[in-house]
């Protein structure tokens, strides 16, 4: 079925004709384009490292390769540090300054801050990787308890993350200055994207403060300048909460940009509503933070109950953004003559565009992740499954399927604009996100089922001298197979992105095939609301199902406090 052709020439809801993001980036001053490329390249390096160490971890968990306990923890530390911290945050910086630059006709402002940020971030990446490679592996949260005998490891990991925090502050300040100076010269109004970048950059700065709060005490202890950080777990959870929201906020902002870029569709609800949605991320961050503390033994019962209730709001901003984007796409596509029926319009979207395909997979993966995320943040279930392989089983829907696919989609738009090279093998690149999703479904299903049966999260040898349940191993083999499948798809996508940087053919960027925005007519769009209702039903079903599974397990739990 052919993609619908979107006509050109309509104004968007910011009240002005906008040149495509890719065109604006292509027109940036040479120094800005080089800076953007620098951030893209360094972030891809972190992704390649994270992917390689992650696959090694999964193969070891499936019993396909053998790792001694120390090597296993080292690989796990390198995977988490490279992927969860460095890839996700370097890519965010690349996209943030790319989107900020797209707001301005004169390129980036406060350029020295960005250059300084680049140097600091590269130094931090090197320090983190070397420390994780050579010193005691502390896991990606740089747990000082694991480094009591090796203060240099604590210093290296904390130092790396503190440099990350400093780099985020420097680059975020530059993004804020850029979008503030790009405001309308008469009214001072910002575009929705300009405001989104402002909010995102502000949130990155606060998260950098949370990183200092978490890691500075560790560093001071390692240098003999402070007491041992006894509250490290609590301080980590504050940062960790922000680290959940930030990539999702970045993802949603990138979806907004990609939707306009690849389909020419703007929000049917207008620029002001988009700004409210972006700000809502920041409103919902602090109140929903308590659920990370559910494993703390001394947490008051009233706080547990309050945290459980507030956790129900955790997905409100992302679901609202989902509704806005899906409804806007449905309205615009139906206006161009999409077939009747509830879902017929979906097939007419530009799935042949690799960036759009990756975004589509990211949206599906986000919904799948949300179904199971609510299982984990239930106060009664969190203590039972938080330390099982259920956790990596579900969160890769977010980390890989949602966030990484979105960031790669963003790169597929901005890299051709920076290098003038065409997207490598567009049909293959458009298919790979679906392979990644297929792998994630296998990985997630096996991982979550194994977690519900009690397979531990970070223990690689789960034989327990033959005492482990017989069902564990097949599920962990499936877990590893799923990882191999999605890692293969992701590796091909990364290769394709690299080919746009080096050695690829010069040509028209993929997004240039997408036309300019269409005005949005009135009409009904039911797919988004139906999807949200279905999601709520599935969330409820998954939670009830998990409770029933846990109740049916033939396990007697003996409380640790009783001395057993």
């Amino acid at each position: 079925m052919p993609d619908i052709t979107f006509p050109t020439g309509a104004a968007n809801h910011d009240g002005a004709d906008r040149v495509r993001l890719s065109a604006r980036i292509a027109a940036l001053p040479r120094v800005d384009r080089r800076l953007l490329l620098g951030f893209v390249c360094v972030s891809l390096l972190a992704l390649v490292l994270g992917l390689g160490f992650g696959l090694t971890t999964a193969l070891a968990r499936g019993g396909m390769i053998a790792l001694d306990p120390d090597s296993a923890y080292r690989v796990l530390t390198l995977h988490g540090t490279s992927a969860f911290f460095w890839w996700l945050y370097l890519a965010q910086v690349a996209l943030m300054i790319g989107l900020a630059a797209g707001e301005s006709t004169e390129g980036l402002k406060a350029r020295p801050l960005i250059i300084a940020g680049f140097v600091v971030l590269v130094a931090g990446l090197v320090l983190s990787e070397i420390t994780a490679l050579l010193r005691t592996p502390l896991l990606y949260d740089a747990n000082p308890d694991l480094g009591r005998e090796d203060p240099e490891a604590v210093a290296g990991m904390a130092g790396g993350y503190l440099l990350l925090a400093l780099g985020l502050v420097l680059t975020s300040l530059a993004a804020i200055v850029t979008v503030l100076r790009a405001r309308d010269s008469v009214t001072g109004a910002m575009t929705a994207m300009g405001f989104g970048v402002l909010a995102w950059a502000g949130f990155l700065i606060v998260s950098a403060i949370a990183a200092v709060n978490a890691f500075l005490p560790n560093l001071l202890w390692a240098f003999g300048r402070g007491a041992f950080p006894a509250d490290a777990a609590t301080e980590w959870h504050i940062l960790f909460h922000n680290l959940h929201y930030l990539p999702l906020m970045a993802t949603v902002l990138t979806w907004y940009a990609l939707t306009l870029e690849t389909t020419g569709t703007t929000s049917a609800f207008g620029s002001s509503f988009s700004k409210v949605v972006f700000a809502s991320y920041l409103v919902f961050v602090p109140p929903t933070s308590l659920y990370h503390m559910f494993l703390e033994p001394n947490l008051a019962e009233s706080v547990r109950v309050t945290g459980s209730l507030l956790s129900l709001f955790v997905s409100v901003p992302t679901l609202t953004a989902f509704l806005v984007i899906v409804s806007s796409l449905e309205l615009a596509t139906r206006a161009k003559g999409a077939p009747a029926g509830l879902f017929g319009w979906i097939g007419r979207l530009p799935w042949g565009n690799p960036a759009f395909s990756a975004m589509g997979v990211a949206i599906v993966s986000t919904l799948l992740g949300l179904v199971f995320a609510f299982v984990l943040i239930q106060e009664k279930l969190a203590p039972l499954i938080s330390d099982t392989v259920f956790v990596p089983g579900y969160f890769h829907f977010f980390a890989v399927g949602a966030v990484t696919e979105t960031f790669l989609a963003g790169f597929l738009v901005i890299i051709p604009a920076l290098t003038g090279r065409a997207v490598w093998q567009p049909r293959l690149m458009a298919a790979m996100p679906w392979l990644v999703l297929a792998g994630l479904v296998i990985f997630g299903a096996c991982g979550m089922l194994a977690g519900l049966q009690g397979v531990p999260r970070r223990t690689f040898n789960i034989a327990y001298d033959g005492a482990a349940p017989a069902g564990w191993l097949p599920l962990m083999v499936g877990f590893a197979v799923g990882a191999m499948v999605f890692a293969s798809g992701l590796a091909i996508e990364v290769f394709g992105v690299l080919r746009m940087l080096v050695g690829g053919k010069r040509g028209v960027p993929m997004a240039a095939m997408a036309p300019r925005p269409a005005g949005l007519p009135g009409g009904a769009a039911w797919t988004g609301p139906v999807a949200v209702v279905l999601l709520v039903v599935l969330m409820t079903g998954a939670t009830i199902g998990t409770f029933e599974v846990m109740r049916s397990l033939p396990i007697v739990v003996v409380g640790g406090h009783a001395g057993h």
Binding site: A199, K275, A279
Partner: protein, 64 residues
């Protein structure tokens, strides 16, 4: 008396600062929580978003 209008962007950022300040205060004054780190981070965030709102408000004062 007609109240001066606030630009949408400034209003949203001020709203964020207010929520973060309230949460910092709740953590500060609720003994059951006992988590000073939350006070530091949410409090610093409130100050940061308040600072971010200033240029958004100042434009209106200068421009109109």
């Amino acid at each position: 008396m007609k109240l001066p209008s606030i630009p949408l962007e400034a209003g949203l950022v001020l709203g964020v600062a207010l929520v973060w300040a309230i949460l910092a205060a709740v953590y500060r004054f609720s003994p059951a929580l006992g988590m000073p780190g939350y006070v530091r981070v949410w409090g610093a965030g409130a100050v940061m978003f308040l600072a971010l709102a200033m240029p958004l408000l100042r434009w209106r004062q200068v421009g109109h």
